[in-house]
């Protein structure tokens, strides 16, 4: 099921999405994990010299029931979002929100320290911060 919240209303953004989708189709060697644009939860990933930051936009889930795991350099976020039950004899006019089980997988860089990862859930966003090992952090070398 497509998570339609990601469809930007803006025409330029929409064209950008189409272009990216077209590029994906033309890409002869796509990622083995496919094209996840539109999946639940939506993910943003960023890096700093000290850490890798993963943001999973997972509104309406119980954080205690979300499973976050790092194994063999791969981060997995899995859980379930229960559907809201409409009142009896209710008409369903729009039904776009994701419901059911989800699982998303991200490859992490080699230099992360999985044991020091920390996860927080706030305003429907799961933020996972994974520090990089110190040895690989940039160091300034003094010239004598």
């Amino acid at each position: 099921m497509r998570y339609r919240s990601l469809f930007p209303r803006d025409l330029f953004a929409e064209l950008d999405r189409l272009q990216r989708q077209a590029q994906q189709t033309l890409d002869a060697t796509p990622s083995i994990r496919g094209w996840n644009y539109g999946a639940y939860p939506a993910m943003n990933v960023g890096t700093t010299p000290q850490s890798v930051e993963v943001y999973a936009f997972a509104p309406g889930v119980d954080p205690a029931a979300v499973e976050v795991q790092i194994e063999k350099g791969v981060l997995t976020i899995a859980g379930e979002r229960k559907p809201v039950a409409p009142a009896e004899k209710a008409a369903v006019h729009i039904d776009e929100r994701f419901a059911g089980r989800f699982r998303r997988v991200v490859t992490l860089p080699d230099d992360v320290d999985a044991n020091a990862a920390a996860a927080r859930y706030r305003d429907g966003v799961l933020h996972i911060s994974i520090p990089r090992r110190e040895a690989v952090q940039p160091r300034r070398i003094a010239i004598e």
Partner: protein, 127 residues
């Protein structure tokens, strides 16, 4: 730059300013009114704005996130910092009595139908 070019540039600018994600919603209707759920992850309570004007309902929210200094985005599916969605309401809804709840990025909105329009069973006579 001609006047027309300026106007084009200006409209492109406002468009970029206003570009927003469309949040996913569920809308249910029962005899007493309409219930709407909207997914607005990343929006804190104070950055959520609900507006009812005439017969238009506007839901807007700004995403607030703590980003570590010097972070470089390597993959972004949520690429805009705000959500917006506008609905046209119908006149039997009582916009004075809208109630809202916002928890874990999910908005729950209840718009009851006006009192004098509460359901009445209509007898169908067969002759």
């Amino acid at each position: 730059m001609s006047e027309q070019d300026k106007a084009v540039a200006r409209s492109a600018e406002t468009r970029a300013d206003e570009a927003a994600l469309t949040p996913a919603v569920d809308v249910f209707e029962d005899a007493g009114g309409i219930t709407l759920y909207a997914d607005l992850p990343g929006v804190p309570k104070d950055k959520l704005s609900l507006q009812v004007e005439a017969e238009t309902l506007t839901i807007e929210g700004e995403i607030v996130q703590e980003l570590p200094e010097g972070m470089e985005a390597t993959h972004a599916e949520i690429a805009l910092p705000r959500y917006r969605r506008v609905f046209t309401l119908s006149k039997e809804l009582d916009t004075e009595k809208v109630s809202a709840r916002f928890d874990k990025g999910v908005l729950e909105l209840r718009i009851p139908k006006a009192e004098h329009l509460q359901p009445r069973r209509i007898e169908v006579k067969v002759e």
